[in-house]
Assembly symmetry: C2
Homo-oligomer: 323 residues x 2
């Protein structure tokens, strides 16, 4: 099993190692999974290819890494202004999302499973205040994927940087801003030492799903009991990951505020509104280019709209009652 | 395995049956679980006792059913104005909640696992409008547990009724109001035919956790691989249940509104504020009566407060950005 994560990357790689151990133990040693972190066997972003070709039997990563190959895969990881973990999981498990995902990966001989969720990520670290849409113009920000496309539409310059390069680039002023993950991972990277302001919410990744990918032939060869073990272990690690993120983000947020005196700021509503509008434009453009993107987009949008109606009277209304 | 649910009760009993099948399949038939619905082997509310005494090895229900025996168990199912599913699960799995739960059940020789969550429930069905705190006075409402205690403090009369008796009582005017679960289960019970107004949010059960309980001796006798199978299958069914609730509630809400023209109304902020204040009073009273209630209450409160700070800049802020 190869992953897209650095060795010992907390929660992400940690969850995969846990998953592999669970499987080995549950199967009484009949199914052993040897885990390689990103780069140990194949480069991180070749995990999908390696699983597809059968070089390895399993992989773990996030679907937006394969956007070049499968544009619609992005809906299976994170979409700007898309659904949060609860909606995404309801869509995957009970709303037809997983069936669409399987369909997308089938031509590549890859079987996907939801296997983790980061929860709502943070908006990122900024060395200039964002007070209006104008402040996004010329902004050099490390932000990949669809989020980057949206920033570009707002006049900013999305920069691609690997995790290990972010801190220095931000400190030296090569970039003005960066997103990373959430309080726990951001704190660990020490980003509070390189930037003045910490913005929320993470409009670009509101509930990033992680994935387990299995080579189709290897999957078909597994007996039914081992298939069930893998499937159930994946759903279990999906739950574990989100809960771990929440618990560690809670602590890290307190540390960032109390010990590092980080200025935690909200994006102004006008900025979020414009980013939302530009997201719509960007998604429509992608849909015009790729039929399967369009198909998944329509299904996702419909589920999100229906979920929003329920959310409004459940979680959102309750949350207001708590305040 | 006995449960507290009626036979074929959707999602609840359905999840348990799924769980049992998963276990049997994953273990290659080495661990077979025979599931009995509530009343088939022991009465629903004697499930805990049956597991405790070893009459059966496993059970499934919700911890507030054992409030008479273990008052603090209520924190492990639902607390008025408590945490929603995401917070509760983070507390259980990564915030010390499960350890406290194990401690509570240890004297009874019972090992608990989180095994399902309903999400935010609905406020219930009412035959009179709730426009101010005054309207709660004299209100006869089917609402059990802590929620009922809070209603009583507001001047209402909490009534205890089993699921099967609710419809008739509401239709005949024996009660003025009732809570049940959420759109899916409420629609199925046909409550829209017996009441005028459907209120939200479900302040009394904002994220009801379901539980798997295992007899301590039976658990200790399981080999490590079968223990792991049970543990992982429970976490998997925990995830499955919430996702299923969300997906089915989405559809049912639409049906209630569009086909049955149900009037979906929000409790006025002043009513929720007063219920929240009275909840505080009720919980403080319980804490004064029972040391372990107090201990768990303190831990729960602390985690909820910390989680609220994170929620404010993650899910809540994002949710506002979406609107």
């Amino acid at each position: 099993m190869v992953t897209t994560w650095p060795p010992n990357f907390p929660i992400f790689q940690e969850g995969v190692v846990q998953f592999a151990k669970d499987i080995e133990l549950m199967s009484g040693g009949r199914l052993k999974v040897k885990v390689y972190a990103g780069g140990q066997l194949v480069p991180p972003l070749q995990a999908f290819e390696a699983v597809s070709q059968g070089t390895v039997q399993m992989g773990h990563g996030a679907a937006y890494y394969w956007a070049g190959k499968v544009p619609a895969a992005q809906f299976m990881s994170a979409v700007p202004f898309g659904m949060t973990a609860k909606g995404v999981n309801a869509w995957f498990y009970s709303g037809g999302g997983l069936e669409l995902w399987r369909e997308l990966y089938k031509p590549f001989n890859v079987v996907p499973f939801p296997a983790g969720n980061s929860g709502v990520q943070m908006g990122g670290w900024f060395n200039k205040k964002i007070e209006s849409v104008e402040d996004l113009k010329g902004l050099k920000m490390r932000i990949p994927g669809l989020g980057g496309k949206v920033l570009a539409k707002a006049g900013g310059t999305p920069i691609l940087l690997a995790g290990g390069e972010i801190y220095t680039a931000l400190e030296r002023g090569t970039i003005d801003a960066t997103e990373w993950v959430g309080p726990f991972h951001d704190n660990r990277l020490g980003l509070y030492r390189a930037a003045k302001y910490y913005y929320y919410p993470g409009w670009h990744e509101p509930g990033t799903a992680l994935e387990l990918i299995v080579n189709g032939k290897a999957w078909a060869q597994l007996p039914e009991d081992l298939q069930k073990i893998v499937e159930v272990a994946a759903r279990s690690i999906n739950q574990w990951t989100l809960s771990k993120f929440e618990a560690l983000n809670i602590k890290a947020l307190r540390e960032l505020k109390e010990e590092h005196h980080v200025k935690v700021l909200a994006f102004p509503p006008s900025v979020l509104k414009e980013l939302k509008r530009l997201t719509q434009v960007a998604l429509d453009e992608e849909a015009a280019k790729d039929a399967s993107f369009k198909k998944v987009y329509e299904a996702y949008k419909q589920f999100q709209a229906d979920h929003a109606a329920w959310n409004a009277i459940s979680d959102d209304a309750y949350s207001k009652a708590l305040q």
